[in-house]
């Protein structure tokens, strides 16, 4: 079956990003397809590259990154959520004249159209927040 996953919450603040990650891994393990990961609202922090986890805790951002790359997933952060929260791609940062960037290269910035498109092209959309 074709799934899309929407993540509304930042890692660590609530459990839901971790649940979403676990669920996504299981989906793939069970042979299902993920059409898109969509990070909305505080969920965009899951795609941040400027994070450091303590040695004895998991880095959710790194785990997402690996999952996306290994399985070649389409991963989108909502543009209006991301820019407001400082999750910027290199391209976007340059356009705005900012010196740093903070979006992992496994995700791309796009609009809410991609959110609606995910519903239209998936058998199931599962939301975590």
């Amino acid at each position: 079956m074709i799934f899309s996953i929407v993540i509304y919450s930042a890692p660590y603040t609530t459990q839901s990003a971790s649940t979403a990650l676990h669920f996504s891994k299981t989906l793939i393990g069970e042979g299902h397809k993920i059409y898109r990961l969509f990070f909305y609202s505080d969920g965009v922090h899951n795609a941040s590259s400027l994070t450091i986890a303590p040695q004895d805790e998991k880095s959710l951002q790194a785990e997402w990154d690996t999952l996306i790359k290994v399985n070649k997933l389409d991963s989108v952060v909502c543009v209006s959520s991301a820019l407001k929260r400082g999750v910027l791609s290199n391209e976007e940062a340059q356009r705005q004249g900012l010196t740093g960037h903070s979006l992992r290269d496994s995700s791309e910035i796009s609009g809410l159209g991609q959110f609606i498109d995910a519903y239209i092209h998936s058998d199931r959309v599962i939301s975590f927040g």
């Binding site: 796009s110 609009g111 809410l112 159209g113």
Partner: protein, 104 residues
């Protein structure tokens, strides 16, 4: 274009700085010669923003024009003829409003 006043896409940074001369300036950048037909739309768009705090998507703009100016003008082709291919973006830009949120 002056990067202090406009962002990289040509949208006005300080929305309060808008006036008719600024609109003429932005329109020139977009290769649009503003006519009374354009001003009519700009006025409506700005009143929409003042009321709803949203930069209208094309669909909303078309319904608004239809309601206020009649069905002959209330069509997306009419808007496209005046403001080129992606009218919602251009109209918002010329009208001194933020870029519409739902652009894809």
């Amino acid at each position: 274009m002056d990067s202090l006043r406009f962002d990289t896409e040509g949208y006005l940074k300080d929305l309060d700085a808008w006036n008719e001369n600024v609109a003429l300036e932005i329109a020139k950048q977009e290769n649009i010669q503003l006519t009374p037909a354009h001003w009519e739309i700009i006025k409506l768009t700005r009143s929409f923003y003042a009321r709803h705090q949203l930069s209208p998507a094309t669909r909303a703009l078309v319904s608004l024009i239809k309601r206020e100016l009649g069905p002959k003008k209330g069509r997306s082709v009419y808007l496209m003829k005046l403001f080129s291919g992606t009218p919602a973006k251009i109209v918002s830009k010329v009208s001194g409003l933020p870029k519409p949120d739902n652009c894809i």
